[in-house]
Protein backbone atom coordinates (compact mmCIF):
# COMPACT_ATOMS: atom_id res chain seq x y z
CA UNK A 1 0.00 0.00 0.00
CA UNK A 2 1.20 3.49 -0.81
CA UNK A 3 1.93 5.81 2.11
CA UNK A 4 -1.41 7.66 2.44
CA UNK A 5 0.47 10.93 2.94
CA UNK A 6 2.26 10.83 -0.41
CA UNK A 7 0.84 11.33 -3.90
CA UNK A 8 1.72 9.05 -6.79
CA UNK A 9 4.84 11.08 -7.54
CA UNK A 10 6.14 10.80 -3.97
CA UNK A 11 5.15 14.40 -3.15
CA UNK A 12 3.47 15.33 0.10
CA UNK A 13 -0.33 15.10 -0.19
CA UNK A 14 -1.17 15.24 3.53
CA UNK A 15 0.90 15.49 6.68
CA UNK A 16 -0.51 12.94 9.12
CA UNK A 17 2.50 11.46 10.90
CA UNK A 18 6.27 11.46 10.67
CA UNK A 19 6.31 7.68 10.98
CA UNK A 20 7.09 6.28 7.54
CA UNK A 21 8.06 9.53 5.87
CA UNK A 22 11.36 9.21 4.03
CA UNK A 23 14.35 11.14 5.31
CA UNK A 24 14.56 13.25 2.15
CA UNK A 25 10.98 14.46 2.64
CA UNK A 26 11.75 15.52 6.22
CA UNK A 27 14.93 17.24 5.09
CA UNK A 28 13.06 18.99 2.26
CA UNK A 29 10.53 20.38 4.77
CA UNK A 30 13.31 21.68 7.03
CA UNK A 31 15.18 23.18 4.05
CA UNK A 32 12.00 24.83 2.79
CA UNK A 33 11.21 26.28 6.23
CA UNK A 34 14.52 28.16 6.43
CA UNK A 35 13.69 30.98 3.98
CA UNK A 36 10.27 31.42 5.58
CA UNK A 37 11.90 32.52 8.85
CA UNK A 38 13.10 35.67 7.09
CA UNK A 39 9.55 36.77 6.21
CA UNK A 40 8.93 37.72 9.85
CA UNK A 41 11.60 40.43 9.53
CA UNK A 42 9.85 42.24 6.68
CA UNK A 43 7.70 45.32 6.58
CA UNK A 44 4.96 43.27 4.92
CA UNK A 45 4.91 39.81 6.48
CA UNK A 46 2.97 38.24 3.68
CA UNK A 47 3.62 35.90 0.79
CA UNK A 48 1.14 35.22 -2.01
CA UNK A 49 1.48 31.41 -2.11
CA UNK A 50 -1.95 30.51 -0.66
CA UNK A 51 -3.84 33.48 -2.07
CA UNK A 52 -7.45 32.48 -2.69
CA UNK A 53 -7.17 29.27 -0.65
CA UNK A 54 -9.37 28.53 2.35
CA UNK A 55 -7.73 26.87 5.33
CA UNK A 56 -10.06 25.45 7.98
CA UNK A 57 -8.66 25.02 11.48
CA UNK A 58 -10.67 22.13 12.86
CA UNK A 59 -9.83 21.91 16.53
CA UNK A 60 -11.84 19.29 18.36
CA UNK A 61 -9.47 19.69 21.31
CA UNK A 62 -8.44 22.96 22.82
CA UNK A 63 -5.15 24.53 21.83
CA UNK A 64 -3.74 28.01 21.91
CA UNK A 65 -0.18 27.84 20.63
CA UNK A 66 -0.65 25.32 17.86
CA UNK A 67 -3.89 26.84 16.58
CA UNK A 68 -2.50 30.36 16.70
CA UNK A 69 0.74 29.49 14.93
CA UNK A 70 -1.15 27.58 12.24
CA UNK A 71 -3.40 30.61 11.83
CA UNK A 72 -0.44 33.00 11.59
CA UNK A 73 1.30 30.68 9.13
CA UNK A 74 -1.75 30.47 6.87
CA UNK A 75 -2.36 34.22 7.06
CA UNK A 76 1.27 35.03 6.22
CA UNK A 77 0.74 32.85 3.15
CA UNK A 78 -2.33 34.99 2.26
CA UNK A 79 -4.87 32.21 2.82
CA UNK A 80 -8.32 32.81 4.21
CA UNK A 81 -8.41 31.15 7.60
CA UNK A 82 -11.57 29.89 9.23
CA UNK A 83 -11.30 28.75 12.84
CA UNK A 84 -13.90 26.26 13.97
CA UNK A 85 -14.25 25.75 17.64
CA UNK A 86 -15.93 22.41 17.38
CA UNK A 87 -16.70 21.90 21.03
CA UNK A 88 -19.27 24.71 20.74
CA UNK A 89 -20.66 23.78 17.33
CA UNK A 90 -22.31 21.04 15.33
CA UNK A 91 -20.56 18.06 16.92
CA UNK A 92 -22.19 18.92 20.19
CA UNK A 93 -25.47 18.76 18.28
CA UNK A 94 -24.65 15.24 17.10
CA UNK A 95 -23.02 15.73 13.68
CA UNK A 96 -20.40 13.13 12.78
CA UNK A 97 -16.82 14.06 11.94
CA UNK A 98 -17.19 13.14 8.26
CA UNK A 99 -20.47 15.04 7.93
CA UNK A 100 -18.70 18.10 9.28
CA UNK A 101 -15.93 17.57 6.73
CA UNK A 102 -18.40 17.11 3.85
CA UNK A 103 -20.08 20.38 4.75
CA UNK A 104 -16.79 22.24 4.82
CA UNK A 105 -15.83 20.71 1.47
CA UNK A 106 -19.11 22.11 0.13
CA UNK A 107 -17.81 25.50 1.31
CA UNK A 108 -14.78 25.08 -1.00
CA UNK A 109 -12.20 24.16 1.65
CA UNK A 110 -8.66 23.68 0.35
CA UNK A 111 -6.97 22.52 3.53
CA UNK A 112 -7.91 21.12 6.92
CA UNK A 113 -5.74 21.54 9.98
CA UNK A 114 -7.11 18.95 12.39
CA UNK A 115 -6.68 18.40 16.09
CA UNK A 116 -8.68 15.60 17.64
CA UNK A 117 -8.64 13.61 20.86
CA UNK A 118 -9.02 10.37 18.88
CA UNK A 119 -5.87 8.91 17.35
CA UNK A 120 -6.35 8.49 13.60
CA UNK A 121 -9.03 11.16 13.09
CA UNK A 122 -6.93 13.11 10.52
CA UNK A 123 -6.19 9.84 8.69
CA UNK A 124 -9.91 9.08 8.60
CA UNK A 125 -10.54 12.47 7.00
CA UNK A 126 -7.73 11.97 4.45
CA UNK A 127 -9.09 8.52 3.58
CA UNK A 128 -12.58 9.97 3.17
CA UNK A 129 -11.32 12.74 0.87
CA UNK A 130 -9.53 10.15 -1.27
CA UNK A 131 -12.69 8.04 -1.50
CA UNK A 132 -14.62 11.13 -2.60
CA UNK A 133 -11.97 11.93 -5.23
CA UNK A 134 -11.15 15.24 -3.55
CA UNK A 135 -7.41 15.05 -4.13
CA UNK A 136 -7.02 18.83 -4.17
CA UNK A 137 -7.92 19.06 -0.46
CA UNK A 138 -5.07 18.54 1.99
CA UNK A 139 -5.04 17.48 5.62
CA UNK A 140 -2.51 18.47 8.27
CA UNK A 141 -2.55 16.64 11.58
CA UNK A 142 -2.24 19.19 14.38
CA UNK A 143 -2.25 16.48 17.04
CA UNK A 144 -4.40 13.34 17.29
CA UNK A 145 -4.86 11.58 20.61
CA UNK A 146 -1.68 9.84 21.74
CA UNK A 147 -0.66 9.18 18.15
CA UNK A 148 1.20 12.01 16.43
CA UNK A 149 1.87 15.73 16.27
CA UNK A 150 4.04 15.91 13.16
CA UNK A 151 4.48 19.68 12.82
CA UNK A 152 5.63 19.83 16.46
CA UNK A 153 8.15 17.08 15.71
CA UNK A 154 9.32 18.97 12.62
CA UNK A 155 9.68 22.31 14.36
CA UNK A 156 11.66 20.55 17.07
CA UNK A 157 13.97 19.12 14.39
CA UNK A 158 14.30 22.56 12.83
CA UNK A 159 15.26 23.96 16.24
CA UNK A 160 17.84 21.23 16.83
CA UNK A 161 19.36 21.74 13.39
CA UNK A 162 19.43 25.50 13.94
CA UNK A 163 21.50 25.18 17.12
CA UNK A 164 23.42 21.95 16.49
CA UNK A 165 23.85 22.18 12.67
CA UNK A 166 23.49 18.46 11.97
CA UNK A 167 21.99 15.33 13.47
CA UNK A 168 24.77 12.82 12.84
CA UNK A 169 26.62 13.06 16.16
CA UNK A 170 23.95 13.97 18.69
CA UNK A 171 22.67 12.39 21.87
CA UNK A 172 19.06 13.47 22.46
CA UNK A 173 16.90 12.75 25.50
CA UNK A 174 13.09 12.90 25.53
CA UNK A 175 12.03 13.32 29.14
CA UNK A 176 8.81 12.86 31.09
CA UNK A 177 5.34 11.63 30.20
CA UNK A 178 6.19 9.64 27.09
CA UNK A 179 3.18 7.36 27.57
CA UNK A 180 0.55 9.99 26.81
CA UNK A 181 2.64 12.09 24.45
CA UNK A 182 1.95 12.31 20.73
CA UNK A 183 4.76 14.86 20.67
CA UNK A 184 7.24 12.27 21.95
CA UNK A 185 6.22 9.78 19.26
CA UNK A 186 6.66 12.34 16.50
CA UNK A 187 9.99 13.45 17.95
CA UNK A 188 11.32 9.90 18.21
CA UNK A 189 10.35 9.03 14.62
CA UNK A 190 11.86 12.27 13.34
CA UNK A 191 15.10 11.89 15.30
CA UNK A 192 15.71 8.31 14.21
CA UNK A 193 14.75 9.04 10.59
CA UNK A 194 17.12 12.00 10.44
CA UNK A 195 19.98 9.84 11.70
CA UNK A 196 20.44 10.85 15.35
CA UNK A 197 22.68 8.03 16.62
CA UNK A 198 21.39 7.96 20.20
CA UNK A 199 17.84 8.78 21.28
CA UNK A 200 16.99 8.26 24.95
CA UNK A 201 13.69 8.36 26.76
CA UNK A 202 13.68 9.18 30.45
CA UNK A 203 10.73 8.78 32.82
CA UNK A 204 9.10 6.68 35.50
CA UNK A 205 8.05 3.15 34.51
CA UNK A 206 4.39 4.14 34.70
CA UNK A 207 4.86 6.84 32.04
CA UNK A 208 7.08 4.96 29.56
CA UNK A 209 5.21 2.74 27.06
CA UNK A 210 6.18 -0.93 27.15
CA UNK A 211 8.41 -2.01 24.25
CA UNK A 212 9.23 1.60 23.41
CA UNK A 213 12.77 0.28 22.70
CA UNK A 214 11.40 -1.04 19.41
CA UNK A 215 11.30 2.54 18.17
CA UNK A 216 15.09 2.60 18.47
CA UNK A 217 15.49 4.37 21.81
CA UNK A 218 17.32 3.64 25.07
CA UNK A 219 15.19 3.78 28.21
CA UNK A 220 16.36 5.39 31.45
CA UNK A 221 14.44 5.59 34.69
CA UNK A 222 17.19 7.53 36.43
CA UNK A 223 17.21 11.11 35.17
CA UNK A 224 20.83 11.91 35.96
CA UNK A 225 22.08 8.77 34.23
CA UNK A 226 19.83 9.51 31.25
CA UNK A 227 20.99 13.11 30.92
CA UNK A 228 24.67 12.25 31.02
CA UNK A 229 26.43 13.97 28.10
CA UNK A 230 23.28 14.68 26.10
CA UNK A 231 23.28 17.51 23.53
CA UNK A 232 19.53 18.10 23.51
CA UNK A 233 16.97 17.77 26.31
CA UNK A 234 13.39 17.60 25.07
CA UNK A 235 11.02 17.98 27.99
CA UNK A 236 7.41 16.84 27.75
CA UNK A 237 4.36 18.19 29.48
CA UNK A 238 2.85 16.03 32.18
CA UNK A 239 -0.56 15.31 30.67
CA UNK A 240 -2.77 15.19 33.70
CA UNK A 241 -5.90 15.39 31.57
CA UNK A 242 -5.11 12.08 29.86
CA UNK A 243 -4.15 10.18 33.00
CA UNK A 244 -6.44 7.51 34.31
CA UNK A 245 -5.64 5.76 37.58
CA UNK A 246 -2.69 6.24 39.87
CA UNK A 247 0.31 6.67 37.59
CA UNK A 248 2.06 9.21 39.79
CA UNK A 249 2.16 9.72 43.55
CA UNK A 250 2.07 13.52 43.16
CA UNK A 251 3.36 16.33 40.95
CA UNK A 252 5.79 17.23 43.71
CA UNK A 253 7.31 13.78 43.72
CA UNK A 254 7.49 13.80 39.90
CA UNK A 255 9.38 17.08 40.06
CA UNK A 256 11.79 15.67 42.63
CA UNK A 257 12.79 12.77 40.37
CA UNK A 258 12.07 13.96 36.83
CA UNK A 259 11.71 17.72 36.97
CA UNK A 260 14.50 19.44 35.03
CA UNK A 261 16.50 21.56 37.47
CA UNK A 262 19.80 23.37 36.93
CA UNK A 263 21.39 20.76 39.14
CA UNK A 264 20.21 17.82 36.98
CA UNK A 265 21.00 19.73 33.78
CA UNK A 266 24.65 19.78 34.81
CA UNK A 267 24.81 16.10 33.83
CA UNK A 268 24.23 17.13 30.20
CA UNK A 269 26.86 18.66 27.95
CA UNK A 270 27.73 22.27 28.81
CA UNK A 271 26.28 23.48 25.49
CA UNK A 272 23.10 21.41 25.73
CA UNK A 273 19.84 23.00 24.63
CA UNK A 274 16.56 22.56 26.52
CA UNK A 275 13.29 22.33 24.62
CA UNK A 276 9.64 22.11 25.65
CA UNK A 277 6.59 21.92 23.36
CA UNK A 278 4.47 23.98 25.75
CA UNK A 279 2.38 24.66 27.65
CA UNK A 280 4.89 24.31 30.49
CA UNK A 281 4.03 23.20 33.99
CA UNK A 282 6.64 25.14 35.93
CA UNK A 283 7.69 23.33 39.06
CA UNK A 284 6.33 20.02 37.74
CA UNK A 285 8.41 18.95 34.74
CA UNK A 286 10.70 21.96 34.53
CA UNK A 287 12.10 24.44 37.03
CA UNK A 288 11.65 28.13 36.24
CA UNK A 289 15.39 28.73 36.52
CA UNK A 290 15.92 26.29 33.62
CA UNK A 291 12.88 27.37 31.59
CA UNK A 292 14.12 30.98 31.66
CA UNK A 293 17.81 30.08 31.66
CA UNK A 294 20.54 30.27 29.04
CA UNK A 295 20.10 26.69 27.78
CA UNK A 296 16.38 27.11 27.01
CA UNK A 297 15.32 27.53 23.37
CA UNK A 298 11.63 27.22 24.14
CA UNK A 299 10.52 30.56 22.67
CA UNK A 300 12.61 30.17 19.49
CA UNK A 301 10.77 26.84 19.05
CA UNK A 302 7.51 28.79 18.83
CA UNK A 303 8.91 31.22 16.25
CA UNK A 304 10.41 28.44 14.15
CA UNK A 305 7.04 26.67 14.36
CA UNK A 306 5.46 29.36 12.22
CA UNK A 307 8.08 28.96 9.47
CA UNK A 308 7.83 25.16 9.56
CA UNK A 309 4.03 25.32 9.28
CA UNK A 310 4.32 27.79 6.39
CA UNK A 311 6.67 25.36 4.66
CA UNK A 312 4.33 22.39 5.16
CA UNK A 313 1.27 24.33 3.96
CA UNK A 314 3.13 25.61 0.88
CA UNK A 315 4.43 22.19 -0.03
CA UNK A 316 0.94 20.69 0.29
CA UNK A 317 -0.89 23.47 -1.54
CA UNK A 318 1.50 23.34 -4.47
CA UNK A 319 1.29 19.56 -4.78
Amino acid sequence: MRNPQLDKNGGLQHLLTIDGLPRDVLTAILDTAAPFTEVAEREVKKLPLLRGKSVFNLFFESSTRTRTTFEIAAKRLSADVINLNISTSSTSKGETLLDTVDNLCAMQADMFVVRHAASGAPFLIAQHLAAMGLDHIHVINAGDGRHAHPTQGLLDMYTIRHYKKNFGNLVVAVVGDVLHSRVARSQIHALTTLGVPEVRVIGPKTLIPTEVEKLGVRVFHDMRAGLKDVDVVMMLRLQNERMQGALLPSPQEFFKYYGLTADKLECARPDAIVMHPGPMNRGVEIDSAVADGPHAVILPQVTFGIAVRMAVMSMLAGA
Partner: protein
Protein backbone atom coordinates in the same frame (compact mmCIF):
# COMPACT_ATOMS: atom_id res chain seq x y z
CA UNK B 1 29.74 30.37 -29.71
CA UNK B 2 28.51 31.86 -26.43
CA UNK B 3 29.98 35.11 -25.12
CA UNK B 4 32.41 35.18 -22.20
CA UNK B 5 30.34 35.78 -19.05
CA UNK B 6 33.14 37.50 -17.14
CA UNK B 7 33.64 39.88 -20.03
CA UNK B 8 29.91 40.61 -20.10
CA UNK B 9 29.95 41.39 -16.36
CA UNK B 10 32.75 43.92 -16.92
CA UNK B 11 30.92 45.46 -19.89
CA UNK B 12 27.69 45.67 -17.90
CA UNK B 13 29.44 47.43 -15.00
CA UNK B 14 30.98 49.95 -17.39
CA UNK B 15 27.65 50.72 -19.04
CA UNK B 16 26.03 51.26 -15.63
CA UNK B 17 28.76 53.45 -14.15
CA UNK B 18 27.32 56.69 -15.45
CA UNK B 19 24.04 57.79 -13.97
CA UNK B 20 23.91 55.54 -10.90
CA UNK B 21 22.70 57.33 -7.79
CA UNK B 22 25.21 56.94 -4.90
CA UNK B 23 22.55 55.31 -2.70
CA UNK B 24 21.69 52.71 -5.32
CA UNK B 25 21.33 49.16 -4.07
CA UNK B 26 21.81 46.08 -6.20
CA UNK B 27 19.50 43.10 -5.70
CA UNK B 28 20.58 39.87 -7.39
CA UNK B 29 18.09 37.13 -8.19
CA UNK B 30 19.15 33.66 -7.07
CA UNK B 31 21.31 32.06 -8.20
CA UNK B 32 22.98 33.43 -11.33
CA UNK B 33 21.79 36.99 -10.74
CA UNK B 34 23.46 37.00 -7.31
CA UNK B 35 26.80 36.09 -8.88
CA UNK B 36 26.46 38.85 -11.48
CA UNK B 37 25.36 41.35 -8.82
CA UNK B 38 28.46 40.45 -6.79
CA UNK B 39 30.68 41.28 -9.79
CA UNK B 40 28.86 44.56 -10.41
CA UNK B 41 28.92 45.55 -6.74
CA UNK B 42 32.70 45.14 -6.61
CA UNK B 43 33.33 46.83 -9.96
CA UNK B 44 31.08 49.81 -9.21
CA UNK B 45 32.30 50.23 -5.62
CA UNK B 46 28.76 50.72 -4.27
CA UNK B 47 28.52 51.41 -0.55
CA UNK B 48 25.06 49.93 0.03
CA UNK B 49 25.44 46.24 0.87
CA UNK B 50 24.41 43.75 -1.78
CA UNK B 51 20.91 42.28 -1.62
CA UNK B 52 19.71 38.94 -2.89
CA UNK B 53 16.26 37.47 -3.41
CA UNK B 54 14.80 34.11 -4.26
CA UNK B 55 11.48 34.60 -6.04
CA UNK B 56 10.18 31.06 -5.36
CA UNK B 57 7.50 32.42 -3.01
CA UNK B 58 6.25 34.88 -5.64
CA UNK B 59 6.28 32.80 -8.80
CA UNK B 60 3.11 32.78 -10.90
CA UNK B 61 3.41 29.07 -11.70
CA UNK B 62 3.09 27.94 -8.05
CA UNK B 63 -0.44 26.59 -8.53
CA UNK B 64 0.70 24.61 -11.58
CA UNK B 65 4.06 23.26 -10.59
CA UNK B 66 4.22 23.77 -6.84
CA UNK B 67 6.97 25.20 -4.72
CA UNK B 68 10.41 25.03 -6.27
CA UNK B 69 12.63 22.75 -4.23
CA UNK B 70 15.28 24.22 -1.96
CA UNK B 71 14.29 27.88 -2.00
CA UNK B 72 17.00 30.24 -0.74
CA UNK B 73 16.61 32.88 1.92
CA UNK B 74 16.08 36.39 0.61
CA UNK B 75 18.42 38.95 2.14
CA UNK B 76 17.76 42.69 1.85
CA UNK B 77 20.33 44.24 4.22
CA UNK B 78 19.27 47.87 3.65
CA UNK B 79 16.16 50.04 3.93
CA UNK B 80 14.17 49.79 0.70
CA UNK B 81 12.04 52.87 1.40
CA UNK B 82 12.87 55.72 -1.04
CA UNK B 83 16.00 53.98 -2.32
CA UNK B 84 16.88 53.46 -6.00
CA UNK B 85 17.22 49.73 -6.67
CA UNK B 86 18.70 47.81 -9.58
CA UNK B 87 17.47 44.25 -10.00
CA UNK B 88 20.25 42.10 -11.44
CA UNK B 89 19.72 38.83 -13.29
CA UNK B 90 21.79 36.69 -15.59
CA UNK B 91 19.35 36.01 -18.44
CA UNK B 92 16.16 37.96 -19.20
CA UNK B 93 13.51 35.90 -20.98
CA UNK B 94 9.72 36.04 -20.35
CA UNK B 95 9.96 38.76 -17.69
CA UNK B 96 7.95 36.70 -15.18
CA UNK B 97 10.85 36.38 -12.76
CA UNK B 98 11.31 40.15 -12.79
CA UNK B 99 7.60 40.67 -12.06
CA UNK B 100 7.95 38.33 -9.08
CA UNK B 101 11.11 40.10 -7.91
CA UNK B 102 9.43 43.51 -8.03
CA UNK B 103 6.49 42.20 -5.99
CA UNK B 104 8.88 40.83 -3.39
CA UNK B 105 10.87 44.08 -3.16
CA UNK B 106 7.71 46.06 -2.51
CA UNK B 107 7.03 43.88 0.54
CA UNK B 108 10.13 45.46 2.10
CA UNK B 109 9.10 49.05 1.35
CA UNK B 110 8.56 51.54 -1.46
CA UNK B 111 11.71 52.09 -3.48
CA UNK B 112 12.19 55.43 -5.26
CA UNK B 113 12.74 53.55 -8.53
CA UNK B 114 13.62 50.11 -9.83
CA UNK B 115 15.84 49.44 -12.83
CA UNK B 116 16.89 46.18 -14.40
CA UNK B 117 20.37 45.08 -15.41
CA UNK B 118 20.98 41.73 -17.14
CA UNK B 119 23.91 39.99 -18.77
CA UNK B 120 21.84 38.68 -21.65
CA UNK B 121 18.47 39.66 -23.07
CA UNK B 122 17.31 36.63 -25.04
CA UNK B 123 13.94 38.08 -26.14
CA UNK B 124 10.65 36.18 -25.80
CA UNK B 125 8.98 38.55 -23.36
CA UNK B 126 5.50 37.72 -22.03
CA UNK B 127 5.21 40.80 -19.80
CA UNK B 128 5.98 44.50 -20.36
CA UNK B 129 9.47 44.34 -18.87
CA UNK B 130 12.43 46.14 -20.41
CA UNK B 131 15.98 46.21 -19.06
CA UNK B 132 17.75 49.53 -18.63
CA UNK B 133 21.05 47.74 -19.17
CA UNK B 134 21.74 44.51 -21.07
CA UNK B 135 25.35 43.56 -21.81
CA UNK B 136 24.25 41.57 -24.84
CA UNK B 137 21.11 40.78 -26.80
CA UNK B 138 20.86 37.43 -28.53
CA UNK B 139 18.14 35.25 -30.03
CA UNK B 140 17.79 31.80 -28.50
CA UNK B 141 15.22 29.29 -29.65
CA UNK B 142 12.35 28.65 -27.21
CA UNK B 143 13.25 25.03 -26.38
CA UNK B 144 16.68 26.01 -25.07
CA UNK B 145 17.76 27.40 -21.73
CA UNK B 146 20.76 29.67 -21.33
CA UNK B 147 22.36 29.15 -17.94
CA UNK B 148 25.09 30.88 -16.01
CA UNK B 149 27.38 28.51 -14.17
CA UNK B 150 30.14 29.06 -11.66
CA UNK B 151 33.18 26.79 -11.82
CA UNK B 152 35.26 25.61 -8.88
CA UNK B 153 37.60 28.54 -9.28
CA UNK B 154 34.64 30.94 -9.20
CA UNK B 155 34.77 31.82 -12.90
CA UNK B 156 31.37 32.43 -14.52
CA UNK B 157 30.51 30.77 -17.83
CA UNK B 158 27.41 30.55 -19.98
CA UNK B 159 25.99 27.24 -21.15
CA UNK B 160 23.14 26.40 -23.51
CA UNK B 161 21.06 23.39 -22.47
CA UNK B 162 17.80 21.77 -23.52
CA UNK B 163 15.04 23.20 -21.31
Amino acid sequence: MLPDAERLCADLAESMRQGLHPDTALVGIHTGGVWVAGRLHAALGLKTPLGSIDVSFYRDDFSRSGLHPQPKTSDIPFAVEDRPIVIVDDVLYTGRTIRAAMNEIFDYGRPSRIDLAVLIDRGGRELPVCPRWAAQTMQIEPGKSLQLERGETGVLTLRLIDA
